[in-house]
Amino acid sequence: MLFNSIEFLIFLPTTFILYWLLKDKIKWQNLFILLVSYIFYGWWDVRFLSLIALSSAVDYTIGIQLNQAEKPIKRKLLLGVSLAFNLGLLGFFKYYNFFLDSFVDAFAALDIHLNTSSLNIILPVGISFYTFQTLSYTIDIYRKKMQPTTDPIAFFAYVSFFPQLVAGPIERASNLLPQFFSKRTISPALISDGLRQILWGMFKKIVIADNCAVIVDAVFSDYGAHNSTTLIVAAILFAFQIYGDFSGYSDIAIGTAKLFGFRLMTNFSVPYFSRDIAEFWRRWHISLSSWFRDYLYIPLGGSRGGLSMQLRNVFAIFIISGFWHGANWTFIVWGALNALLFLPLLLRDTNRKYTETVAENRHLPNIREVAQMLMTFVLTVILWVFFRSDSVGDSFSYLQKIAACNFSQNIYNQKDVFLLMPLISIMLIIEWLNRDKSHQMDIQRFSPIIRHTTYVFLLALIYLFSKYSSNTFIYFQF
């Protein structure tokens, strides 16, 4: 079920009402969440529910076993089983054909031609998200950072919690799971806050991302036919498309969770106002970046050790993060290029230079900050070309065509591009005004007139651009 679909418009209020009818009955509420989460997921493909159930069952059992095991070898073995199972699942469904094809291509380069055939594997929606979520649970128990739960319903509900099941935020058991055991409360302020965040997410998805997608898809699918101006415009629009799409989803997910009395972690924090690439990565897909930081980067040694170790760790985290996005060399190159941009900051020990919000306590940034933000944005736009292209060759060809400097005023679909400019400006202005808030529609501090005018304005735009046939979210493919 898509957040931007008619089905969800019916699903959400129905589940909300039924859920709060079970007020004070935590176990029943958990069971209800589990049930509606499976319905929500089964709406796509009921077959893949078994994968979630299996993944949940394996990690639930291993969690209890880990807690009981005292011998380090047994604990390691149990952790290994969990890792093998979850990563095996991910590997088979997401990467099997990629590895097979890459293997065949590598041998073909040596003039050895292997006879293999790819399997027709359907990628289960959200598999990359929920496997990481269950893994964090097992690893945290292994590290004795948390106790396992003995309530299977709560655990299964935690893994399949519908607002964030298919595209995150990738929650940590230490944050989300305890919420399944505590009494949930609802208040007008929380409902309003949740609805505002949903509204903002819908705006970013329906008004920004879906409109950018029309131009981006057309240009990237036939980039050879366009001039440099159009290619630059499309690359910039893709930056806004993927931001609107993914952060929009996260906002809807977090806002929806609030309606059910849950607090999910922030996943995006105005990343396009970053002053360098390190700050960008602290503000973009925070739940994934911090997952890799805690479960991969730090165990590998982090920024400690010699230069070679630092290099290895930075490249490892960025390349694996890129590969997590999809079974394509484009994502790996995208990750490696991000590492290349990040590395100088790490080596000069300036990677944590900008941890506070830009222009804090000021209305506007200074010229230096504007230049830094623009430079960071330009770099991310260039790297997004690799993310969006079908192949690495296409990415380089796309950038080469830009570099050919065939600038002309003829922009593909010029009318729609001009329509998008004020819409993107509206998004950026609102985000700037609320850049230090937990989400960018946190406008409680304004007067009711301003608030309701904003709601009406955003709703009108969302209505104008809504369709019956909803566009899916980009991150569902990951």
Binding site: S187, P188, I191, S192, Y463, L464, F465, S466, Y468, S469
Partner: protein, 323 residues
């Protein structure tokens, strides 16, 4: 809490109200198909692709034939939505009013080579037909009366909701779908504008030639369509005129199309009228579709041919029977 819900409910009801209002108001100028799903069933119909949708005017037919025949509606769509096949036939079944009528029923079946072809489908696999899973395949309320038809809006209307509101304004001069199903297209008809559209159309259709091929299944389904409609009234097969340039392309696509239609005409004992010999007598918006003036003219001619029971335009019918 109550205040919060009250405020939220106001927003929800206003939005629903606006959407309902927009869907109610949506009509002739917002979409080329919508009204065909709000006007109920009809006992007499024009069926075919966009050539029929734009080229045959029920208003003229009804005026000329009104005394004898039930009111005719145009139920033609496009080559993508309504080539002959099971999907379109099932849609006709829903649209057809089968109650006993005091007058005769008439069905004008517009045919052309493209309407019995498949695209990029060498094995003629029905599962790959482009109309599968489009609105005519999915809808269950094709014959219903009254607005709004939310089923069509959700299954057939792919544009944004905003366009339901503002398209009636922006589209007013370009397109008008009449209540009787005729799609009136208003485009500049000066020589250079027509030439430009025709050149684009010829180029497009020439490129399409390698992708399209005769579908024996569709040909069979056309026969089934005729057979079905014959059970409910008189049927005539019509090949509407096109520009000579488009005709040249069609000859390459299916040189024996007229012969195939003549065979069908004989098999089902229905007349087949081809206007291919009179191409220069009509004007076209883009070479492929009749301009509305010519649509009026040909509709009147078809009405007269029905009235006077004109026989098929097959020149040597016996030569096709397999002698």
């Amino acid at each position: 809490m109550k205040k919060t819900f009250a405020k939220f409910s106001i927003y929800v009801f206003v939005l629903i109200g606006i959407h309902y209002f927009a869907a109610m108001r949506a009509g002739s100028y917002f979409d080329p198909f919508y009204l065909r799903f709000t006007t109920g069933q009809h006992a007499s119909m024009v069926v075919g692709t966009s050539r029929a949708a734009q080229g045959i005017l029920p208003e003229v037919l009804n005026r000329e034939l009104g005394g004898e025949y039930t009111t005719i509606a145009n139920f033609g769509f496009t080559i993508v939505n309504s080539p002959y096949g099971e999907v379109y036939l099932n849609a006709m079944r829903q649209k057809l009013d089968t109650t006993k009528q005091p007058k005769k029923n008439i069905f004008i079946v517009s045919v052309d080579p493209w309407s019995i072809t498949t695209k990029n489908n060498p094995t003629d696999d029905v599962a790959l037909y482009r109309e599968q899973n489009l609105f005519l395949d999915k809808m269950k309320t094709i014959g219903e009366v009254g607005k709004p038809n939310f089923e069509y809006l959700s299954k057939g209307y792919a544009e944004s909701w905003g366009k339901i509101l503002y398209r009636p304004i922006t589209n007013k001069r370009r397109m008008c779908l009449h209540e009787d199903g005729w799609l009136e297209v208003n485009v500049p008809m000066n020589e250079s504008a027509v030439q430009k559209r025709q050149t684009a159309k010829v180029e497009n259709y020439t490129n399409l030639l390698i992708h399209y091929a005769l579908s024996n299944n569709r040909l069979h389904e056309l026969g089934q369509t005729i057979d079905f409609l014959k059970q409910h009234g008189e049927v005539v097969l019509v090949r509407l005129p096109i520009s000579s340039e488009i005709y040249d392309i069609e000859k390459q696509l299916m040189p024996d199309f007229d012969e195939k239609m003549c065979l069908l005409s004989q098999k089902y004992t229905v007349p087949y009228w081809s206007f291919i010999d009179k191409l220069s007598e009509y004007t076209y918006t883009d070479g492929n579709h009749l301009y509305k003036d010519s649509g009026r003219k040909i509709s009147k001619e078809i009405a007269q041919m029905i009235r006077y029971n004109i026989t098929s335009s097959c020149r040597q019918p016996n030569s096709f029977i397999g002698d």
